[in-house]
Symmetry: C2
Subunit: 254 residues, 2 copies
C-alpha cells in the first residue's frame, strides 16, 4: 500500500487534484482509496474512504465551544491527535494499492502543529509514502514567489520528513509564455535575472535551490488531466525508492 499526501497553501487545489488523480488512477485500473484529513473542509467533490470529520468537525467545534474561526481551526487540528488511535484503526482497514490523502486547507496547520507530522507517520505506518506539494501557478508565475514556494516546499519537507514531489498546480491557467518562463526557471536559467535586486544570502539560497533541484516542478491541470502521466511516473519513481537518501556513513559533514 502506497500513501500519497497532497499538501499546499490554501487554494492551491489539493481537494480537486485528489478527486481527479483518483479518477485518473481508477481509469488505469488501479485500486485507489481516499482519506480526508481536513476537519474544516466544507464540500468534498469525492466520497472519502475515511473522513476525519467523522471524529472532529471544525464547524461543530466552533459552535460547541463558541470559538472564533482561527481558534476553532487550531483546536480542531489539535483534537484530531486525541482521536489518533481510533483513526489509525479505521484507516488500517482500508485496502488499496494507492491511498490519496487530502490535508488541511492551510499547510501551516498541517506542518507546524504536532498533529500533521504525527498523524501522517501514524497512518502511513510501515508503508511507503510521498508528499505531493502543490505550487499554485497563480503565485508561481512571479519569480520571487516561485522561489518562495520552492523554499516553502523544502521547509515542509524538513518538517514532515517524507520524500516530496513538487507540482505546479492549475497550469491550465498559465499562458504558454508564462509556462515556458517558469520551466526555464526550473531548469536553472535566468531566475536570478528575473528576481531583480536580492541580498547575498538570498542569492546563495537561490543558487543552491536551482543547482540541486532533482527535478523541476511538474505542471499539472486537474481540469484537463494535463501532466498526470508525468506526476504518476515521478510518484512511482519516488515510491520505488529512486530518491537517494544519504546514510550516516556517506553523509559528508559541513
Amino acid at each position: 500500500m502506497y500513501f500519497i499526501f497532497f499538501t499546499g497553501t490554501a487554494g492551491a487545489g489539493k481537494t480537486t487534484i485528489v478527486k481527479e488523480f483518483r479518477d485518473y488512477l481508477i481509469d488505469q485500473e488501479m485500486d485507489v482509496a481516499t482519506i480526508n484529513l481536513d476537519p474544516a473542509v466544507e464540500n468534498l467533490p469525492y466520497t472519502p474512504d475515511f473522513d476525519v470529520r467523522d471524529y472532529v468537525d471544525a464547524f461543530e467545534v466552533m459552535q460547541r465551544y463558541q470559538l472564533g474561526p482561527n481558534t476553532s481551526l487550531i483546536v480542531s487540528i489539535d483534537l484530531v491527535l486525541s482521536k489518533a488511535g481510533e483513526i489509525k484503526k479505521e484507516i488500517d482497514e482500508i485496502e488499496a494499492n494507492y491511498v490519496l490523502v487530502d490535508t488541511p486547507g492551510q499547510v501551516e496547520l498541517f506542518a507546524y502543529r504536532d498533529t500533521g507530522r504525527l498523524i501522517s507517520s501514524l497512518i502511513a505506518g510501515e508503508n511507503r509514502a510521498v508528499n505531493v506539494f502543490l505550487m499554485d501557478s497563480f503565485l508561481a508565475k512571479e519569480a520571487r514567489s516561485y522561489v518562495s514556494l520552492l523554499l516553502l516546499s523544502s521547509a515542509i519537507k524538513f518538517r514532515l520528513n517524507l520524500p516530496q514531489v513538487n507540482v505546479l498546480s492549475k497550469a491550465d491557467l498559465l499562458s504558454e509564455k508564462e509556462l515556458e518562463n517558469i520551466k526555464s526557471w526550473g531548469e536553472g536559467e535566468k531566475i536570478v535575472d528575473d528576481l531583480g535586486t536580492i541580498d547575498e544570502y538570498s542569492f546563495e539560497l537561490v543558487k543552491t535551490i536551482v543547482e540541486n533541484l532533482d527535478s523541476p516542478p511538474i505542471p499539472v491541470s486537474s481540469v484537463t488531466d494535463f501532466g498526470f502521466d508525468e506526476l504518476y511516473a515521478e510518484v512511482q519513481k519516488v515510491l520505488a525508492g529512486g530518491e537517494d537518501y544519504l546514510t550516516e556513513e556517506n553523509n559528508p559533514r559541513i
Copy 2:
C-alpha cells in the same frame, strides 16, 4: 517613521511580543504606535492605534455570510484588500517613531494571499520597514524543525520582500541545554549531525543556510523581556540600512 512587522506561525507569540516590545520601547522613551492587521484575532492585550477589525471582522464575516471557519478566514483576509484605500488613509494619520504591526495568526494567509504583500507595502509606503520572523522555541528545539523554520523564514522573506530578522520566541520555555544546543546550530556547528539521514538536496540547502546566515536567530522572551536589547539593536541595524542588498551591477550570475 519605521515599521516593524511581526510574523510567524500560529501560536509563535506575535501578539504578545507586539505588546511587550511596545512597552519596552516606551520604557526607552520612544514614540510607539501599534497596528493590528489580523481580522480574526479574538483578544488583544494592547489597544492598537489602528485595528483592521474596524473594517473587517472574521467573526462577523462568518456569521453574515454563513461561512465555515476556514473560508471565513480567507474571505476576511481578501476583503481587507477592498478596504486598502481607507486603511492607508487612517494609518497615514499615525505619528510615531516606531509602528509595530501585528499580522494574521497564520503566516500563510498573510504571505501567500495578495493582501499581505500589498497591504504591507502600502502601509509602510516610503518608510523603512523590517519583518521580525518568530521561530517558536517549542518547534525550533528539534533539529529538523529548526531548519524547517529557517527555510520558512526565507520563503516569507522572498514573498514579502522586506529585510528580515529571525527571533527565537518564547526562549524562557527552553532549558539552558536546549538553548545552548540551538545556539550551536545557529553558529553552524553540528546541525548536520543532529539532522540524521537527509538527502543530498537537503544537505546542500542546510549547508547554504548555515554558512550564509547573517546572524543567528535572537532568543527572546516576552515574559522576561530577555533578548529585547539584542532585538532592538538588530532591528536598528537593519532599519539603518546595515543589510547589504546586491544591486543589478554587482549581482553575480549563477
